[in-house]
């Protein structure tokens, strides 16, 4: 545990990617099995400790120093694990600290009632860094700036293999990955690839805008809608069926309706949507189904999942990734045509003669559950990663509104201590005849680091009131907010909720009185059209949060 804690500690202070890789590689080489395997699982998000959840840790903290002091401490530090690690005191009488393997194996066997006592004993035995690492491990969010991909890159490096070779065997492996280390370090045979519905690294697109298109020949490209859902991979082989996010995260558990409908042995690339009758439901409906361990029958009935297919990677045991897009498309269309499958359909190609025509189609489609267009070269093979040139995403332009900053709260993680969560509002007629601001959304990104420092200072200098961690500020700073859609909301005083709002500009030049009105925002709603999926039934709408699995 101490070596792992030192690794996490060094990683958390090391901003450079290559240095991070070196730290992980050194750790993996020097640490024996099974600890290095557990560590790798922790870095790739492959460990889960259901009996050690944040509520338990919060309870520990409140027990130590009381609810009020714990709340103030947590608000300041911005990280639950670190807060608890810092307020806890090492007890020299607690015995030796546990090893990483001991932690994982003990917790996997421990019952929910045994866990608290075990944890307390470990917290007493570890030093502050050890406690922090233990608690990060348990809560599953290490936040040391290492993605699963980077950790896999480090593993690949110790065996001088390309990262995609590791990626292809990855899902056939089990923690603590002994066959993987045997292959990479001892020269044992490569573990079976695509044994059981392995994730195949996804192909990603680069953003493009109208001005860059003229340099490209429209005849080389195919266009399809970029649906407003979650990019997924449906993988079935050897009797196993899986649904993966584009980052390779297994989300099968949350979508049993999709898994059940798989009656093939193939791998497809598509968009996960909630679909009712023929209409694609708002993204918000899909969000209801994400990040759930169990799905209720009611949820399955009211938010039925659906995959709209873009591409085929393997078809009935044959790897098609080296074929050009056009040929894969022919096979995909033929496969779809063979049998009716209610949970799967084909994303149609958008025909166009030139960029002008395509631009017009993109404009028309603004609100129909579509994020924009994908452009794919007809001769492109399916490559992993984000190669430059073959695929582009041409997102629709965001809507803009000038809003007034109303409240700010400190951020978490990297932005801890900075006032970086901003609630903003638009004008409407107030009760007393005058105008008042009604909150319309909350944003915590879109700004540069420099702008963040500026905003933080502005908030501190213009605070008029504090409600716990929230500061109310003078109603005088105008923020230009960019957002991808707007919907009615019964949960908000203003009656509207924005999709994916972010701060696009700080408008110090504009007086607050000239900011937009709620009425103006509602007009955007009618432009979207009454039959638009974004306009209907968003009673569950809340301020949209960052969707990690969505392509940024």
């Amino acid at each position: 545990m101490q070596a792992f804690a030192r690794l996490l500690d060094s990683l958390s202070f090391q901003p450079a990617r290559n240095a991070k890789l070196r730290l992980i590689e050194t750790y993996l080489r020097e640490t024996p099995d099974p600890d290095r395997g557990w560590a790798l699982a922790a870095l790739t998000g492959g460990l889960d400790f259901p009996s050690a959840k944040p509520a338990l840790l919060r309870g520990f903290g409140q027990e130590k120093i009381g609810e009020e002091l714990f709340a103030l401490s947590y608000d300041y530090v911005g990280d639950l694990a670190e807060t608890l690690a810092l307020i806890w005191k090492t007890d020299p009488a607690a015995g030796p600290p546990p090893t990483l393997g001991e932690v994982v194996e003990t917790l996997q066997r421990a019952t929910r009632t045994q866990t608290p006592a075990i944890l307390k004993r470990w917290l007493d035995a570890l030093d502050s860094t050890g406690r922090w690492a233990l608690l990060k491990l348990l809560t599953g969010a290490l936040r040391v700036g290492v993605s699963a991909r980077l950790a896999k890159q480090a593993v690949a490096n110790i065996g001088s293999q390309p990262v995609d070779a590791v990626e292809e065997v990855w899902h056939g492996l089990e923690v603590p990955y002994r066959p993987l280390f045997d292959w990479l370090l001892q020269g044992a045979p490569r573990p079976q690839s695509n044994a059981g519905a392995a994730f195949l690294p996804a192909m990603l697109a680069n953003p493009i805008d109208r001005s860059e298109l003229d340099a490209l020949d429209p005849a080389h490209f195919r266009a399809e809608w970029k649906w407003d859902g979650i990019r997924v991979q449906v993988a079935a082989s050897g009797g196993l069926k899986r649904l993966y996010s584009r980052a390779g995260e297994d989300v099968s558990g949350a979508f049993p309706d999709i898994i059940e409908a798989i009656d093939f042995e193939s791998v497809f690339d598509g968009e996960l949507l909630v679909r009712r009758e023929t209409a694609v439901a708002p993204f918000n409906d899909l969000q209801q189904r994400l990040n759930r361990k169990t799905v209720t029958p009611k949820m399955l009935k009211e938010h039925p999942a659906h995959v709209r297919l873009y591409d085929v990677l393997w078809l009935e045991g044959v790897d098609l990734r080296a074929l050009p897009f056009d040929e894969r498309r022919v096979r995909l269309e033929a496969w779809i045509a063979r049998k009716e499958r209610p949970r799967f359909d084909l994303s149609p190609l958008v025909t166009f003669a030139d960029w002008v025509e395509l631009a017009a189609k993109r404009e028309e489609m603004r609100a129909d559950g579509i994020e924009g267009l994908m452009l794919k070269r007809g001769d492109s093979a399916y490559l992993s990663g984000r190669p430059k040139g073959p695929w582009f995403k041409w997102k629709r332009d965001p809507m803009l509104a000038d809003c007034v900053l109303m409240y700010a709260q400190r951020g978490h993680g990297k932005r801890s201590s900075f006032y970086s969560d901003f609630t903003f509002g638009c004008w409407r007629d107030g009760a007393a005849g005058g105008r008042e601001l009604a909150p319309v959304g909350k944003a915590y990104f879109g700004f540069t680091d420099e702008e963040l420092r500026w905003l933080d200072k502005w908030v501190r200098d213009h605070t008029t009131n504090r409600y716990g961690p929230v500061r109310e500020v003078e109603q005088k700073l105008v923020l230009e907010i960019a957002f991808d859609g707007i919907a009615r909301s019964t949960r908000h005083k203003s009656g509207v909720a924005m999709r994916f709002p972010r701060i696009s500009r700080i408008r110090t030049d504009k007086p607050a009185a000239e900011a937009d009105t709620v009425e103006n925002l509602l007009r955007l709603l009618t432009i979207s059209g009454p039959e638009s999926p974004l306009a209907g039934g968003m009673s569950h709408a809340h301020y949209p949060s960052v969707i990690v699995t969505e392509e940024p």
Partner: protein
């Protein structure tokens, strides 16, 4: 704990209270650590947010006045009055004395007595030993005004020796690299040098130009810094394996590019919290602070035993909450001009 029965009748807020220019003592007509130039100031210590130039009269310890003269071009326009620890002087109707605060060289708590009531303005303080100044002295009083820079239960500053040990281990592990240590010019810098000497490090310690004058002042006051030299005077020096001290702002400055693959170490109480350490770009965070941590702050409330406590600059809420739990009549005192985040 009350010194006399006057406590019962005299409301201390009527004779000492915050104003936009700073904490004002009405019966003495002076300000304590004012944020702006005033006719008469009492200064607890030499840090920039407490000691400012331009006052007509300033009362401080001899060391603090020396620091102020060094920082403010000799202060020819300020009438300076030196008062040693343990001595006192009458200003208007108020008896003013100084007790050591253990924060930096010359740092003092201002002890104010008026009509049998005693208020202690502790300025900034810490309780652990500091080789560059005498230790904090608890003074019984009716009202204790305390800082709250690190007033949260998450702040437990580890031992100085352990943190200095981290630095020396890193120097031993990376003999090819320069260790650039970010320290505040006044107090932290000289304390870190002393701590390195006490840990047995006797090599030359290199200094950024911004640290020179205050290091000289400390040496003049009998603090032995050993072999120190300005970076600018180095000849044929590669700085490989060297320890170089600089103000924290210089770590990310062009100035730092001259060194061999430098490791940025930052010495501050904020280094206790990861996100803060990362925001400051620290690769080697060292928790060395001149402020009291949570155990020291809470212990001090008990040691001083004041029935009333006013909490200023920092995380007032937590300390006020804690003090009330001890049955102390505690409240936050919002003072102008105090930085939220200093170390």
């Amino acid at each position: 704990m009350a010194i006399t029965t006057a406590t019962e009748t005299l409301n201390p807020r009527t004779w000492l209270y915050p104003t936009p220019r700073g904490l004002y003592c009405e019966p003495g007509d002076f300000y304590i650590d004012p944020a702006f130039a005033v006719p008469r100031a009492v200064i607890t210590h030499g840090h920039g947010d407490h000691a400012r130039p331009g006052h007509r009269k300033a009362l401080a310890t001899p060391e603090t006045l020396a620091i102020m003269r060094t920082r403010f071009q000799d202060m020819p326009d300020t009438e300076q009055q030196a008062l040693k620890y343990g001595e006192s002087v009458r200003i208007g109707e108020v008896e003013v004395g100084f007790a050591p605060a253990g924060h930096i060289l010359g740092s003092a708590q201002a002890v104010l007595a008026y009509r049998g009531q005693r208020i202690v303005v502790s300025g900034d303080y810490k309780r652990r030993p500091d080789p560059t100044c005498p230790p904090f002295e608890p003074v019984p009083c009716d009202v204790f005004i305390t800082e709250a820079t690190f007033a949260l239960p998450v702040f437990h500053h580890p031992s100085d020796a352990g943190e200095i040990g981290k630095l020396l281990r890193s120097v031993a592990t990376f003999p090819e690299r320069t260790h650039l240590v970010g320290v505040y010019a006044l107090g932290k810098c000289q304390r870190v040098i002393r701590l390195l000497r006490e840990a047995g490090y006797d090599k030359r310690i290199w200094l950024h130009g911004g640290l020179l004058s205050l290091c000289k002042l400390y040496q003049d006051h009998g603090v032995d810094l050993g072999d120190v030299a300005p970076v600018s005077e180095a000849i044929l020096e590669t700085f490989k394996g060297a320890i170089v001290l600089c103000p924290p702002s210089a770590l990310a400055d062009r100035w730092s590019r001259r060194f061999a693959d430098p490791i940025a170490a930052v010495c501050s109480g904020w280094m206790n919290v990861r996100a803060r350490a990362r925001q400051r770009g620290a690769e080697l965070p060292l928790v060395i602070s001149d402020h009291a941590d949570w155990p020291e702050l809470t212990q001090t409330l008990k040691d001083v035993g004041a029935p009333r406590v006013w909490v200023t600059h920092g995380r007032e809420e937590a300390l006020v909450h804690y003090a009330r739990g001890l049955g102390i009549d505690a409240e936050a005192l919002h003072l102008a001009g105090r930085e939220d985040e200093e170390s």
